[in-house]
Structures are given as C-alpha cells and as structure tokens.
C-alpha cells in the first residue's frame, strides 16, 4: 500500500467511525481533534476501524501518533515497513 492508498484508508476509517463527519475541508497537517470536534469515543471508533481495515493492532501507546492525517499516514507507512 503506498501513501495515497493509506491516506484513502484513513479517510474511510474516519467516515466509518464518525457518522455524519465532514471531511471535505480537512487540512492534512492539522490535528483531527481541533478540526473535527471529535471526542475520545469517536477516536476509539477510529482506531478500531483503522486497525480492522489494515489488519494491524495499534498499541495504546502509539495512538498519539494518529493526531493528524499526515501523522497517521506516516505512522502507518513506518509500521508496514517494520512489519514486513
């Protein structure tokens, strides 16, 4: 999976986790929480959706690295290289 595909997967996981969320104006370098008004329940849903879609476990200690779209893609790219 290249970064473009990872990016798509992240956006799909967000849309699945947070019903009714508007992603059109998402700035990829800025934090999800600031932009999207999501809370810890939304974020748990998001982590779970991402974990399931990509077939990887995301340790709790790593969740701060899912702060923005850019951060998340970077983290996932590093994870996939490491897992191989």
């Amino acid at each position: 999976m290249n970064n473009t595909e990872l990016r798509t997967a992240v956006l799909e996981a967000l849309a699945e986790a947070v019903p009714g969320i508007e992603l059109d104006d998402l700035v990829s370098a800025e934090s999800f929480r600031e932009q999207l008004d999501i809370d810890s329940v939304d974020f748990l849903n998001f982590s779970a959706a991402l974990s399931r879609r990509l077939g990887i476990d995301i340790p709790d200690a790593d969740t701060p690295r899912l702060a923005s779209l850019d951060d998340t893609v970077e983290y996932l790219a590093a994870r996939r290289l490491g897992d191989r």
């Binding site: 799909e12 849309a15 699945e16 947070v18 019903p19 009714g20 969320i21 929480r33 008004d37 809370d39 810890s40 329940v41 748990l44 849903n45 982590s47 779970a48 974990s51 476990d57 995301i58 340790p59 709790d60 200690a61």
Partner: protein
C-alpha cells in the same frame, strides 16, 4: 412514526422494540410494555401524532381480549412534558458515504411521488425494501432527518428553564488526584486490543455509580409530594450530538456492571445516541446524570439538574497540576468533580460526603 418493526398477527413480548419514531430526542425505538399479539397497527408510517395517541391495538395474550396499546409513546414523552413530538435527526445520517449511492436502484412509484412532494433527493437515500428498493417510508424518514433541530432545542430549553425556575440547586466541587486511576488505566490499555480499551469516562461513571449506592437521597425524582427514591441506579450519560444539542440516555443498573461491561455500555450508548436507535426506556429512566466536558480543556463545570432528577455530577478536564503528596510537591493529573443537587431532597453535608466517596473510589482503581 417512522416505521413499524412488527406486523399484525406478530406475537410481542415486554421490552421488545416494535416501532421507530422520530422525537425531539432523535429517532427512538419504541418498546412495548406488555406481552401479547399485535391485532392492528393504527398509525401508519410518516404520520405525526400527539403524545398519548393510540399507536396499535394489542391482543392480551392472557385474557385474549383487545386492549389499546397506548403506553410507549406516552411514557416516553411524558418525561419531557413541555415538549411536543418534533423532529431532529434520524438513522439515515449513519450511512457511510460509500453506501449512499446505488447506481441502478429500485424506487417504488409511491416513493418517487412522495420524494417530489417532500423535496427529498433520492440519490442520498438508502433503500430498506427488497433488494435495497427505496420505499415511501425511506422517503418519509429522510424528510424527517432534513428538518431542523428546533424540536430538540425547545425540549432542552423547556427542561432547563423549568429546572432553574423550580429547583433550588446547591453546588459543591472537589479536586481529585486522578493519577492513580489514569496510570492504572494506561497500564491496562497497554495490554489490550483497541476494542477492549477503557476510556476515562468509564472510570468516572463506575466511581459515580458505586458511590451512589450509599447515597439514595441523590438518586431518584422530585415529585409533587416530595422525594421519591429510585429502585435502581440508572446513570444518564450526557452525549453531545454532532449537529448540536444533546441527549442523556441511561445505563440501566450502572452500579451492577463491572468496569468492562460499563465501558461497552457507554460506547454502545454514545454510538447509538449519535446515529439513531436509542430505546424509549433509555430516555425515560435516568435517575441521575453524569456530564463530562473532559476533552475541551474546561477546568470545572456547574451543571443544571434535569428534572425530575435531583442531582447531576460533572467532571472537567484532568490536567497536570502541582499537588502536595506526603508533604512534597509533585505533578499529578487532577480533575475537578462537581455536584449540583436539589436542596429540597438533600443537603450540602451529604453531597460533600458523596464527592469524597467518589474521590476515594478513584484512588483505588483496581477495585473499581
């Protein structure tokens, strides 16, 4: 009335969801209060009816006689007696974008006509008929979802104005060292898969529900003739909705659930509050409410009691603070807990003991 989940001739049992209605609190599953057999559905989908209207005729299984099944809507909405049935949001919003568009879809002629009348865009609809066909009920439901939040706003306005007018609130606040609880939770979460992890709200809810079992004066309702303690602890959890407004559905018997069960119950409740599918009993039964603005950086909140309840517990954002522990200054994550209670039903002394009990329970998280 959005749609029926049962048909004439179906046997139903107490607690079963029989219909979905749109109310000021969102799309709600209506549960039936009696066992029996559905004889006739009186109110067709898409109809707006006043509170107390007969929705269906139920044949009593024991007596074999017909009786009007008035109960559900009446009891659901009596809670918010100032409000009429109105329209807020519906389950349609929970459909992921990918599922919204069906390139070749079946739309019943009646649905097409109704969509035109109501100004509903058929491309945004998910059909629930055979093979995903769009039915008139789907169109009605979408039309309900498009209506503004006015109904919910009015419900909140009426309840909060009544509360401030009638309830002599007293407010108490205490700072709680949350470091032991959060450190314990983080160690637990490090061992767990995403889906099994705990959130801070679960610990706060568990401590509140457990503490409450020794303070029945805070758990119940103020009626015309005085305080009526509740039989169980049904903890209302305030959930902010994405499109504005909030609901506070109850976790039934919250004090009897272990921490993991309570966490799952909270997740389920929050997700259903935001995407539709709350049950009528969940909205009518809270005996006390918990509200947390824990993620907005708010230090402390002064909540307003939801009548006829007599207390509400609030938690601010835990944040690192200087804290004196055994004579030394250390950095700890500290949260401010607030109690607003009805002075007709209890006094500050009791409220203070209740907050101290919550503090004590959070200090021993492994026992929660």
């Amino acid at each position: 009335m959005l749609r029926w989940l049962v048909a004439p001739g179906d046997s139903v049992s107490r607690g079963q969801a029989v219909a979905v209605v749109e109310t000021t609190k969102g799309a709600i599953d209506i549960e039936i209060f009696h066992d029996g057999k559905i004889q006739q559905l009186v109110v067709p989908p898409g109809t707006r009816v006043p509170v107390g209207e007969v929705l269906a005729i139920l044949e009593d299984s024991a007596a074999g006689e017909s009786s009007a099944g008035i109960g559900p809507v009446e009891s659901l909405l009596r809670q918010s007696e100032d409000a009429e049935t109105a329209w807020a949001r519906s389950e349609m919003d929970s459909v992921p974008p990918g599922e919204r568009v069906h390139p070749r879809r079946r739309i019943s002629p009646a649905a097409r006509k109704r969509a035109e009348q109501l100004g509903v865009d058929l491309d945004t609809l998910r059909g629930t008929g055979p093979e995903g066909a769009v039915t008139s009920a789907d169109v009605e439901q979408k039309a309900a979802a498009q209506r503004p939040l006015d109904g919910m706003r009015q419900t909140i306005a009426a309840a909060m104005a009544r509360s401030k007018r009638e309830i002599p609130h007293y407010y108490l606040s205490t700072r709680i060292d949350l470091e032991p609880a959060l450190a314990w939770m983080e160690a637990e979460n490090a061992k767990r898969q995403v889906r099994e992890r705990l959130l801070q709200i679960a610990l706060l809810a568990k401590a509140t529900a457990s503490a409450l079992s020794d303070f029945p004066q805070l758990n119940g309702f103020w009626r015309q003739d005085g305080f009526e303690p509740a039989a169980g602890i049904h903890l209302g959890v305030a959930v902010a909705l994405r499109r504005g407004g909030l609901v506070a559905p109850a976790i039934h018997g919250a004090d009897t659930l272990c921490l993991d069960e309570l966490m799952l119950a909270i997740l389920d409740l929050v997700n259903r509050a935001r995407s539709g599918g709350l049950r009528s009993s969940e909205l009518s039964e809270p005996t006390i409410t918990l509200t947390s603005l824990g993620e907005l950086g708010v230090d402390c909140l002064y909540p307003i009691i939801y009548p006829p309840q007599v207390a509400i517990v609030g938690f601010g954002t835990p944040s690192p603070r200087p804290w004196v522990l055994d004579g030394n200054m250390v950095a700890r994550r500290v949260v401010e807990a607030t109690l607003a209670a009805d002075h007709r039903a209890s006094d500050g002394h009791l409220g203070g003991r209740f907050l101290r009990r919550i503090d004590k329970l959070l200090g021993e998280p492994e026992k929660l």
